[in-house]
């Protein structure tokens, strides 16, 4: 029978769709990792969370002039719906336990960007401070560090694009190395 798919040569690109499907149907073949990673990097929802002046730059980066929504990054007010924690600001020892708890409440896969000098190393509070945590990587694992005090929104967007590159390299399926 001429309608048996086994005997029908595959249609060339741009030709008529397979029988039984409408003219808008297209078939995409690719590996699943690529597709899943692309979906994840294009919808990086970040936790609405800021502890110091870096938070002002974070708000600015999310607002209309810099518009992080272009990259699929929008804020979520709950860790349950967030993929990314942007640690924007100084973390004190009193705050550290709350940061850890928020991180633990986020679903996998989850990522952390340390934004600004305070979150990277303690920044201006590195020496002679009894209350500031000297880098948020003492509490939670960090994927991307953004220098600056505070970093400009361009730097933050650059950090998010770096994180997108990291996500695209992720292996979700197949044999584990």
């Amino acid at each position: 029978m001429s309608s048996d798919p086994a005997h029908t040569p595959p249609p060339a690109h741009g030709s008529a769709p397979p029988p039984g499907l409408g003219p808008e149907a297209q078939v995409m073949v690719g590996n699943a990792d690529l597709f899943v990673n692309w979906a994840r990097k294009s919808s990086l929802w970040y936790l609405l969370f800021a502890t110091a002046c870096c938070g002002i730059e974070l708000m600015q980066a999310g607002a209309s002039r810099y518009d992080m929504d272009r990259f699929g990054a929008v804020f979520r007010a709950t860790p349950r719906q967030a993929d990314l924690m942007l640690v924007a600001g100084t973390i004190t020892h009193k705050m550290a336990e709350r940061v850890k708890r928020l991180y633990d409440q986020m679903p996998e896969p989850k990522y952390v960007i340390a934004m600004g000098s305070c979150a990277n190393t303690g920044g201006p509070f590195y020496k002679d401070s009894y209350c500031v945590v000297k880098g948020v990587d003492l509490i939670i694992p960090v994927d991307v560090y953004i220098p600056g005090c505070p970093p400009r929104p361009e730097a933050l967007i650059d950090g998010i694009m770096k994180l997108q590159k990291i996500i695209m390299k992720r292996k979700n399926y197949g044999a584990k190395a």
């Binding site: 020892h93 009193k94 550290a96 336990e97 009894y130 209350c131 945590v133 000297k134 003492l138 509490i139």
Partner: protein, 156 residues
């Protein structure tokens, strides 16, 4: 009213409880008061119609190494004048009466002085740490404070 006139008024009312006037290098000048009398002096400064210091602008702890002090900055919206009160305290067990029933705003600032200097305000309605975690050990703005190695497993 000028600082000297305020000092004379207080000296006439409270006698030896008002120790001295520190006007060199201070603006406003400081009236040094004995610790036990600080509440009565404060109430008089607030309620006397010629003084009527209705705003406690700032309450600070001070570490002079050999002793502690608590400094009060007062302002009168009615008369547009200002004065400082200062109370000297011993290094061991520094404590003095609270003024949070005279100026309710004193409560948070007394808690800060308690948190960072360990100065006890007797009779306070709520004397707890305000900035540091409740299980923090020591009072970090004291000049002889020793930093801990870690807090809850995180390096300090």
């Amino acid at each position: 009213m000028e600082a000297q006139a305020i000092f004379d008024t207080l000296k006439g009312k409270f006698g030896d409880a008002v120790v001295e006037l520190q006007s060199e290098g201070f603006s406003p000048a400081f009236v040094v008061v004995a610790p036990a009398a600080v509440k009565e002096v404060s109430r008089f400064l607030k309620e006397d119609p010629d003084l009527s210091f209705d705003v406690l602008m700032c309450l600070s702890g001070v570490d002079y190494k050999e002793k502690f002090a608590v400094a009060y900055h007062l302002h009168s919206l009615k008369h547009r004048h200002a004065i400082g009160l200062k109370v000297m305290l011993p290094r061991e067990n520094p404590s003095l009466p609270t003024v949070d029933d005279v100026w309710p705003a004193a409560n948070f600032q007394e808690r800060e002085a308690f948190d960072l200097y360990g100065i006890v305000f007797e009779g306070s309605k709520d004397l707890r740490r305000i900035l540091l975690p409740e299980d923090w050990e020591g009072h970090p703005l004291r000049k002889d404070y020793k930093y801990p190695d870690s807090y809850h497993g995180i390096k300090v």
